[in-house]
Subunit: 250 residues, 2 copies
């Protein structure tokens, strides 16, 4: 056997990636767009969408550590989307799903041997800058959440920083804008994230060798208010879409 053949074999093996919350709009889109690139396992909270039945999958409440832990065994990476995604979510709901659930997923990922966590964060972590139109917003500015939802996602970012520093797991937090098939109004005109740009930024995050990072994830919208320079520079993101193409000249 030639020296190095084992290394080649490892490099060619597809990474095993768990997507939590895969029944959601983003998760189900990612499942289809990343299925060739990775060996996917999907996590669902309750119901299994018909279109995703043929994927390897698990059903569990992420707030129940014993239920979710087996899903994280022997994965290389986890894309953690499962959450209450509403900016109007109550404290009880974000406590259950976004705080306890996120801790459980990160801890199970560590115990299961994952080397990468991609955490779906949100612009709502910084929403008070937007409320006050203090633009542009850069990802390194102090957090100013606009909701308990935003607070709970900031918690996930901080927990990710700890897991990166303490355990050497690469953690990439993506502050996802407005994920839609197409932009549809003035707000999505600047905060849109297209499906293909979403898929790209997630695989760039999976492949990134950074130890930790927090990045805005939106398309290259001409009217954006949030900086994506570091997403481009540090994560290698090359957005292909711009919401402006969907609107006529003024």
């Amino acid at each position: 056997m030639e020296a190095g053949s084992g290394v080649t074999a490892m490099a060619e093996r597809k990474k095993r990636v768990l997507i939590t919350g895969a029944a959601g709009r983003i998760g189900s889109e990612l499942a289809q767009r990343l299925r060739d690139r990775y060996e996917l396992r999907l996590h669902f909270h309750r119901t299994i969408p018909e279109a995703l039945r043929d994927f390897d999958h698990v059903v569990a409440d992420i707030a129940d550590f014993g239920a979710i832990a087996p899903a994280l065994r022997d994965v290389d990476a986890v894309v953690h989307l499962a959450a209450d995604p509403s900016p109007y979510a109550t404290w009880q709901s974000v406590l259950h799903s976004n705080i306890i659930g996120t801790y459980n997923v990160f801890e199970a990922a560590r115990l299961g041997g994952a080397r990468k966590i991609v955490f779906a964060s949100t612009n709502h972590v910084m929403g008070m800058y937007d409320r006050d139109q203090q633009w542009p917003v850069y990802s390194h500015q102090p957090v100013r959440p606009d909701s308990l939802y935003g607070v709970s996602k900031a918690f996930g970012e901080t927990l990710g920083r700890y897991y990166a520093d303490r355990y050497g797991i690469s953690v990439i937090c993506l502050r996802i804008g407005w994920f839609l098939p197409e932009p549809r109004d003035e707000i999505s005109r600047w905060m849109w994230l297209s499906p293909r740009d979403c898929a790209q930024v997630v695989w760039r995050a999976i492949e990134s060798e950074l130890d930790f990072g927090i990045f805005y994830a939106i398309s290259a919208n001409s009217r954006r208010h949030w900086d994506i320079t570091d997403t481009i520079e540090k994560l290698g993101y090359r957005p292909e879409d711009d919401a402006e193409r969907y609107f006529g000249p003024e």
Copy 2:
């Protein structure tokens, strides 16, 4: 009645201040040092220390909203110290006392009409800079907690930012160093917070008109690694102690 006499009366009325976790080392010291300045109410988790029996007090688990809420009725300010203060605390413990408990105290403070929250944070929010000796550390740098305890305190800071932005409550977060009667070793030599400096920084925070701030709270130790310039500039803190006075010449 002269115009303005009501205003004068209000200005002369002592502020009503609740100290949570007042049985702790810091809380019991603050109770004695601030009793003349404010109308104090003390919160204890379980037992009432003998020395503090004559104070107005309540006993409650802060993780139980219904139990703690009455303590926050009609206070002007809360100094929130109650927490599991150990850097080695488990997730279950920080979840209970530091995350759920802090949410309950902030929310009850808001409902009770408080205009000020002084939140006892910690250097452990930034402990990974210290581990890596990336000094000096400034309070505005991105958080890098060294423990789940540090993560839980970063959560409290973020929640405070939200309460300030959303509800107009002034929230001052103090990253308290090592509170000791006297410094005793090389570490306390740079991170010491003396009892009288602690009392001062807390009343400065209560009196501050800032909408929000995060500040290191240590004495003016000649060998400090953490910046207190903004504590001095923005909070008006005038530290009187320096650990160096307790050590001989080298």
